[in-house]
């Protein structure tokens, strides 16, 4: 089960990096490639295999003007989606 204490991490072989040609962040995975939207980019920048989902939500809530609940819902949905698609481990 995914909850606030879950610590997301990139799976083996997954790279999150800035592409200078497109001037955009890209998520490179085995035979897959994702172009995360702005919100997902902010979330993924905080994924380091040490921070929990709660910590990620706290960080975003401190910087963005949105209710914490809403942010938490977005974060979990984004991470779960990328987990199902094989880019993250939850």
């Amino acid at each position: 089960m995914t909850d606030g204490a879950t610590v997301p991490a990139f799976r083996r072989g997954v790279k999150f990096r800035f592409d200078t040609v497109r001037e955009a962040w890209v998520l490179l995975a085995p035979e897959k490639l994702f172009m995360p939207d702005e919100i997902a980019v902010e979330i993924l920048k905080l994924v380091d295999g040490a921070r929990s989902i709660d910590a990620i939500v706290d960080d975003l809530a401190a910087r963005f003007d949105a209710p914490r609940d809403e942010i938490a819902t977005d974060v979990i949905a984004t991470l779960e989606d990328l987990s199902t698609r094989g880019a993250l481990q939850l």
Partner: protein, 365 residues
């Protein structure tokens, strides 16, 4: 006339060589394969990789034939990795020794996709035409995992192995694959030649669909399963290569740049060679890459269809092979006037009780 510059390509598929120790009857390489002496040199490939990084390519897939049959593979991987490209090798694994694995790891390889012909050695070695191949693949899978690399296990499904799909998934799990591809044979090249011996029936397809759906649910979040359905049974086509000239450049062993690996079967095309033209120009303005790019070229029913930017009208090579016209709607689509030809092919394969096939061979005369 000024055409807006297309978005940069995402992926480069490098077919290093058509040489392969295996002879899979479902291989999608062209029947007329490139001779070893026509292959690009190491320096030519290094230059292609530099150009790829410059124009925004993000991932490089080293494929073939068997890419490990090229002695410079390690050097090319190292070069690509140094340019920040994500590197992937698509291999049969039979040449992946301890020494080769160590060298690739040091070169910075990101991922390896290992293909399996079946769940067990006897039928696997029969369809691959290589005695002892399956055992070597099992060893290769272990080496990949011990190296700490992610592993994709790829299983190609056809009528002669379809009942063992559950065992294939179990094998992938046992090998510690992070990802599996359960891919129905795509009928190009040798597979098209052998279609009557390979194409499954509707019942067999329904069986696989069920097995895959169950496995996906069970493995959700642990092992991702990519499932490639066979076009012949589909109501809608696949977005071949994510759209013609939209995401990928495929380069043949002798250096021809192709929008899709089967494109050389299309008549009336001169595919540009990386020996003569820059990758940037090939992508932006060659006739080969622009002819079916976007939606302007589309016939009815695609032209007015709300899925035209989802599947891009399907596969051009299939339109040619089945409907006789590369610019037609893919016959896999239920809206295509030629859709009945797919059902006829399924019926013909169903009536065929001979399971013999023509093994893929490189004619070297």
């Amino acid at each position: 006339m000024s055409v807006p510059a297309p978005a940069p390509p995402m992926g480069l598929i490098i077919e290093l060589t058509h040489r392969c120790p295996l002879q899979c009857a479902y291989c999608s390489n062209p029947l007329a394969m490139d001779a070893p002496r026509s292959e690009l040199t190491t320096d030519e490939w290094l230059d292609v990789l530099d150009q790829a990084a410059e124009i925004g390519i993000l991932q490089v897939h080293f494929s073939g034939g068997e890419p490990m049959a090229r002695r410079d593979l390690v050097q090319l991987v190292a070069h690509a990795a140094a340019r920040g490209l994500y590197t992937n090798i698509i291999t049969s694994g039979v040449l992946l020794t301890d020494a080769a694995m160590a060298a690739l790891l040091a070169a910075g390889i990101d991922h390896i996709q290992l293909s399996f012909q079946d769940a067990h050695a006897a039928p696997a070695d029969r369809i691959g035409g290589y005695h002892g191949g399956h055992e070597k693949k099992l060893a290769a899978a272990r080496r990949i995992r011990e190296a700490g690399l992610p592993l994709t296990a790829n299983f190609v499904i056809h009528r002669q192995n379809i009942e063992r799909v559950g065992e294939m998934i179990a094998l992938g799990e046992e090998l510690g694959a992070e990802r599996m591809e359960i891919a129905h044979t795509q009928y190009y090249g040798w597979a098209l030649l052998n279609r009557d011996a390979l194409l499954p029936s509707a019942e067999q397809l329904a069986f696989v669909n069920g097995v895959v759906a169950q496995a996906r649910e069970r493995l959700n979040g642990r092992i991702a399963i990519d499932y490639v359905v066979p076009d012949y049974h589909a109501a809608r086509p696949k977005a071949c290569m994510g759209g013609w000239g939209n995401r990928f450049i495929n380069i043949s062993p002798s250096g021809k740049a192709l929008p899709c690996h089967a494109a050389e079967t299309l008549p009336g095309f001169t595919f540009p060679s990386v020996r003569e033209q820059r990758l940037r120009d090939i992508w932006a303005s060659s006739d080969a890459f622009t002819r079916f790019r976007g939606t302007d070229w589309m016939p009815e029913p695609c032209r007015a269809c709300d899925r035209r930017e989802i599947d891009w009208g399907g596969c051009r090579c299939q339109a040619l092979a089945i409907a006789g016209d590369a610019a037609a709607t893919d016959p896999a689509c239920h809206r295509s006037p030629d859709h009945h030809l797919m059902a006829e092919a399924i019926a013909a394969a169903g009536a065929n009780t001979v399971l013999d096939f023509v093994p893929r061979r490189l004619n070297q005369d």
